[in-house]
């Protein structure tokens, strides 16, 4: 190993850059050569440069303490994660297959529920899913696409195999970081890109817009598409406005919209203007106070009625949250076989359902060794990592599982793969995952790579930005062989 990598210890984990013998993996060779030449001080200077550009662009989230909010940037690590071409082809195949099955599943459970009748998934699981919307049964969506934008998180275990950790079929966020990370890397290490054939990511906004235009009501060839945001105080507001800007469309808040005759209009300086497709970054619950949460000030009263009348398309569709349910997740491999007659390309993480008696007994007997997750939480909330949990926490989750078996699942602890990161002047390994962004439009497209999230705290397995996670640029190479 060279330069600042000399002291690097890959540890007992699957390391993205070095193999078990400590030899650099071929697709990282050029990178090691270039970064090996850099002094830590030079590295630090580059890091400050990158962070400053995030700050100046306002790519920040607000942390409130006392009466004043301070704006923080998401920590950005300069060492890219590199995915060889063939490895990516495999991931792409798996994700396309999975999203295809999820969309068929949603079509099915909001219509005939054949998968229940054929005994693949118990009806009770669907009926009791927190985000299942019985009021939408029988309602058709354009082109049968429910999840237009999907983020199915991938991790790699100790053997380097890719596993699906969870599906995000509601409002997966983070794609703006992915795009900005690439910009930052180009600015800070311009010459590095000459040495690698890295697939570009910049077309994502255009592909997103194409997917949104594809599902316009009544096949309207020239629809008005808008982004609906909870507002400027939302922690993901930067991303909402970023995407609107990159697509060249309006960003609206609930108050900008009004419903007349079951049609959606926006309030403009020249009067009311019809809206056809809404890329909404507001959860179902807050979308329409006349149907869902009455106390929501973010939503648009009457929008669900306009939606049901088929006069506006919402992306993602209403009711997709049922597919994010971690109990439903358990059944995704079965769905793939049922709807597509194929073996799943990307396996799930082994999962135990506490709603099943035998599983529950196992879970309660092995709590300190397992990861327990609430079925309907996300963002790293409502979860316990057994080996890192206190006795009180374990006891709390035990009670919770017994009180509400349907509400929890458990999984063995997966030691996520690690990637070298620049931390406090030296290179150390940190656990990472991968959030890809899959678009379902006329065809399924996946932005090459995705957002690699990094658990910046030493030893931590939690990568969520709300829990102090960072990110790094993710490169998919045109060529190359990986391990999977």
């Amino acid at each position: 190993m060279q330069g600042i990598f000399q002291q690097y210890d890959a540890g007992p984990f699957f390391d993205e850059m070095f193999d078990k013998a400590g030899k650099v993996r071929p697709h990282y060779g050029q990178l090691l050569q270039r970064f090996g030449e850099l002094e830590p001080a030079e590295f630090d200077r580059k890091r400050v440069l990158a962070e400053k550009s995030y700050l100046n662009q306002g790519i920040t989230f607000t942390v409130y303490s006392g009466d004043e909010g301070t704006e923080r940037i998401m920590p950005f690590d300069l060492i890219p994660r590199i995915i060889p071409g063939d490895e990516w082809a495999f991931i792409e195949k798996g994700l396309t297959q999975r999203l295809h099955a999820l969309n068929l599943f949603l079509r099915d459970i909001y219509h005939e529920q054949k998968i229940v009748k054929d005994g693949i998934i118990p009806g009770e699981i669907i009926r009791s899913a927190k985000h299942f919307r019985p009021e939408l049964v029988g309602f058709d969506v354009p082109h049968d696409i429910y999840i237009h934008i999907c983020g199915s998180d991938l991790i790699r275990g100790a053997d380097g195999r890719y596993l699906v950790l969870e599906d995000n079929g509601r409002c997966p966020s983070g794609v703006s970081y992915l795009l900005e990370n690439r910009q930052a890397m180009k600015r800070v290490f311009p010459r590095l890109f000459n040495r690698y054939a890295v697939r570009p990511v910049g077309r994502y906004p255009q592909e997103l817009l194409a997917a949104l235009r594809h599902v316009a009501p009544h096949g309207n060839p020239d629809p008005t598409v808008v982004v609906l945001t909870p507002g400027v105080f939302n922690s993901a507001y930067f991303e909402h406005s970023f995407l609107a800007r990159a697509m060249g469309i309006e960003i609206v808040v609930g108050h900008d919209l009004v419903i007349e005759n079951s049609r959606v209009f926006m309030k403009t300086t020249k009067g009311l203007k019809r809206v056809d497709v809404i890329y909404r970054r507001i959860d179902d619950d807050f979308l329409d106070p006349t149907v869902f949460r009455k106390d929501s000030l973010l939503g648009v009263p009457g929008i669900v009625e306009a939606y049901r009348a088929g006069n506006v398309t919402l992306a993602n569709a209403l009711g997709t949250g049922v597919a994010d349910d971690k109990v439903v997740y358990y059944y995704v491999p079965a769905m793939i076989k049922y709807y597509l007659g194929e073996e799943p390309v990307l396996p799930n993480v082994e999962t135990y359902l506490s709603a099943v008696d035998a599983d529950r007994k196992f879970i309660l007997d092995h709590l300190p060794e397992l990861v327990v997750k609430a079925a309907n939480e996300s963002g790293g909330y409502g979860m316990m990592i057994g080996p890192h949990a206190s006795k009180e926490e374990v006891a709390k989750f035990r009670d919770a599982i017994i009180a509400d078996p349907r509400g929890y699942v458990a999984q063995p602890v997966v030691q996520l793969s690690r990637s070298p990161c620049f931390v406090d002047g030296k290179i150390e390994g940190r656990h990472i995952d991968l959030r890809p962004y899959i678009l379902s439009g006329e065809k399924t497209t996946i932005i090459p790579g995705g957002l690699t999230r990094v658990a910046m705290r030493k030893g931590s397995l939690v990568v969520n930005s709300s829990q102090g996670g960072g990110s790094k640029d993710t490169w998919v190479l045109d060529e190359g062989e990986g391990v999977c």
Binding site: N56, G58, Y237, I249, H255, T269
Partner: protein
């Protein structure tokens, strides 16, 4: 364009213009103070009090500070977050509005504004201020000018840009009238005469705070008189900070937005603005002084407020419904 966006564009540029006006006024006042050798507590207070009067912030100032001093007034108008009209508050509000319309304005505009905001919050800004207030205010004005230049050079001159113009010229007309009115609040020291040394120095300061000194001298042949300065800052047709120029530009932007010809009006804002514009086109300085300069400026400020209200009613009436 969304009504909410139009409203945000208007206020974004009003706040930026307000920050610039404040920086100019303070810069000139410091320089003016350095022109007078005989300073005691009384004269210092007399020197700074008019600033608070023109900004109409006297009450709030009294709540926060004990007694008027140069440092207190500068801190209040520059860094005081409790003062909604301070430079830091103006830039903060401008940035909040810019955040709401980030997809409308160019990234370059946003970054310039955001850099300025981050700088004002940083210890570096305080240090620069302590080191040399004059340089500090100059660099602020520079930075705000860059924003104007970037805006003109990088943003489509469509409806959003026109609303920025509306905000800019409304605020600039207002601030020119206030700067001119400062003289009304400044008492001449005992024994000094109208047209005397101190009086002329003060009028020159008024010119400087509008960046009008050089332009004025070109046409006045070196004669600085109250009438001359007032005429220049109110009625000059092509100086970009004169009231007449600002109202004319405001009128143009309003007609660009509606698409209505300039000899007519299609809404109340255009009607009111057209009347003010024609008043400025056809009045003369004798009439202004016979009305009374202070009264004339006061009326003009009220008319600007009416135009702004009518504008919001025309284009952003949806916003009132909530």
């Amino acid at each position: 364009m969304l009504s909410r966006v139009a409203d945000a564009c208007l206020w974004l540029s009003r706040y930026m213009e307000r920050a610039e006006a404040n920086a100019r006024i303070l810069d000139v006042n410091i320089q003016l103070l350095l022109d007078f050798e005989d300073q005691n507590e009384g004269t210092v207070q007399q020197h700074w009090q008019p600033i608070l009067a023109t900004l109409e912030d006297q009450e709030l100032f009294n709540e926060i500070y004990e007694g008027i001093s140069g440092d207190a007034v500068m801190a209040f108008v520059t860094f005081e977050k409790k003062n909604p009209h301070s430079i830091i508050s103006s830039v903060t509000f401008a940035r909040e509005n810019a955040r709401m319309v980030r997809e409308q304005i160019s990234s370059e505009m946003w970054e310039q504004l955001n850099r300025l905001y981050l700088y004002l919050l940083s210890p570096a800004a305080r240090a620069a201020f302590i080191d040399s207030p004059i340089d500090f205010y100059r660099s602020l004005v520079d930075s705000l000018h860059s924003f104007q230049g970037i805006t003109d050079a990088t943003m489509t001159h469509g409806e959003g840009w026109q609303f920025l113009q509306v905000g800019k010229f409304l605020e600039r007309a207002d601030s020119t009238s206030r700067v001119l009115d400062i003289k009304y609040h400044i008492l001449l020291p005992f024994g000094e005469q109208v047209g005397g040394n101190v009086d002329i120095t003060q009028w020159m300061a008024v010119l400087r705070s509008c960046s009008a000194m050089e332009a004025f001298l070109k046409i006045s042949h070196g004669q600085v008189t109250s009438w001359g300065v007032a005429e220049f800052l109110i009625l000059h047709d092509t100086f970009p900070r004169s009231l007449r120029f600002c109202v004319d530009s405001l009128d143009l932007a309003l007609h660009q937005i509606s698409g209505c010809g300039r000899a007519h009006f299609s809404n109340e804002a255009e009607r009111l603005c057209g009347m003010l514009r024609s008043n400025l086109d056809y009045t003369n300085i004798e009439t202004v002084f016979s009305t009374g300069l202070h009264q004339y400026l006061d009326q003009t400020q009220l008319r600007l407020i009416e135009i702004c209200d009518a504008l919001v009613k025309t284009y952003c009436r949806w916003l009132d419904e909530e």
